[in-house]
């Protein structure tokens, strides 16, 4: 067994170039993009927290619907379709989603999904279109979607504390903090 690493070194062959380029870089830049902006991170976590508060079926409808609608926003951005007020829209998403979590609002599922979908378009439009030169579009897209889904999952995981009384208070406090941060983002976007 000890000879195995040596065997691997002996078996080294020249690298053979092929046409695929920028896969790893594309994936990691896509993965890093959603977590590089606090406004996006807080809104995604808020979606997960709200889903956990609402329980089934919202807990899975929101994470299924959000990536699709967000990708639609990115698709519009890639086609050059302008979307007015993107940055204020993202800030507003943090405010409203934070408020929903803070007040533990329970609208009908359709309205909750519509609200989340509306903001998903803004997030997709601004974040889904920034492919660095030389990176793979497919891998960037996969990384971007996976990171966004991971943030939802993190929010849902935190939201599982909702089953305890203190957990409910902590989640509502987190929602208030997200909403407050959203006010700051809005102020920054408008000045």
């Amino acid at each position: 067994m000890r000879a195995l690493p040596l065997l691997c070194l002996v078996a080294i062959e020249p690298a053979l170039a092929h046409e695929q380029q920028g896969q790893a870089a594309g994936f990691f830049s896509g993965l890093a993009h959603p977590v590089s902006g606090l406004d996006h991170v807080l809104a995604m976590v808020a979606v997960g927290l709200w889903g956990a508060q609402l329980g089934a079926p919202a807990i899975w409808v929101l994470p299924v619907a959000f990536p699709l609608v967000m990708a639609f926003g990115g698709f519009l951005g890639l086609l050059g379709v302008p979307l007015p007020g993107v940055e204020p829209g993202i800030a507003a998403s943090a405010i409203l989603l934070g408020a929903m979590v803070a007040t533990e609002a329970r609208p009908p599922l359709g309205r909750a999904a519509l609200l989340v979908a509306l903001f998903a378009v803004f997030h997709g439009h601004t974040h889904g279109t920034e492919l660095p030169a030389g990176h793979s579009g497919l891998f960037y897209s996969v990384g971007f979607v996976a990171a966004t889904g991971g943030l939802h999952a993190a929010g849902i995981a935190l939201g599982l504390a909702h089953r305890w009384r203190r957990g409910q208070i902590a989640i509502r406090a987190a929602g208030a903090a997200i909403g407050t941060a959203g006010v700051y983002f809005l102020w920054r976007a408008l000045t």
Binding site: E19, G74, L138
Partner: protein, 202 residues
């Protein structure tokens, strides 16, 4: 045929035969023969691999009958499409078939609507035809010929069998939801990739 099956079948047919563009070969040299090169080709070509994963998930969600049809239809269509692609490497090829495959199959997985086994088989046929053609062009360009193509089709068969069987066996509700979330992610990636393709930036 169930309501809604005809539009899906028409979509599958259109998907397999339209949209011209150039092929991009993803060549792999494992050093252990063309069959293994063909197998490796699938696993390094994400634009082929992800749609196969999506089809396997869809087949599994639609039960054993759909799974049985798709696991045989896909590799046969892949092989036949590949042979045709290898014969006519200069023929027009679909633009962004990967994006379209990811989008269509991902949405169907996310929606988790029950489809007739024949419709799933038609989707497998369309996927195999479209992506097999690309594989055929790529493997012919690499000089792998039929053996390499058989390796790719065999890899698609093995992957579909394993994944579809795993999904068919899922009984707890949350596991099925996890598969649907996976479908949503695949569809979202496909939609973004479609945007990249149309904007000419990928």
């Amino acid at each position: 045929m169930r309501p809604g099956a005809l539009p899906l079948a028409v979509l599958a047919a259109a998907w397999s035969g339209l949209w011209p563009a150039a092929a991009q070969a993803h060549l792999v040299n494992t050093g252990i023969g063309p069959v293994y090169d063909g197998i490796a080709h699938l696993f390094v070509s994400f634009e082929d691999l992800l749609p196969v994963v999506a089809l396997a998930l869809l087949s599994g969600l639609n039960g054993p009958a759909a799974g049985r049809r798709s696991i045989f239809t896909l590799p046969i269509a892949w092989l036949l499409g590949g042979l045709a692609g290898a014969q006519f490497p200069g023929a027009p090829l679909p633009v962004g078939p990967a994006a379209l495959s990811l989008l269509i199959l991902g949405v169907l997985v996310a929606a988790d609507r029950r489809l007739a086994p024949n419709v799933v088989a038609a989707l497998a046929l369309a996927l195999g035809r479209a992506h097999g053609w690309h594989s055929g062009v790529a493997t012919a360009a690499a000089g792998l010929q039929t053996a390499g193509l058989m390796g790719t089709a065999a890899a698609a068969f093995g992957l579909t069998v394993l994944l579809a069987a795993s999904v068919v066996g899922l009984t707890r509700p949350w596991t099925r939801i996890a598969v649907r979330v996976g479908g949503s992610w695949i569809a979202a990636s496909g939609l973004l990739l479609f945007g990249w393709t149309l904007s000419g930036r990928t």
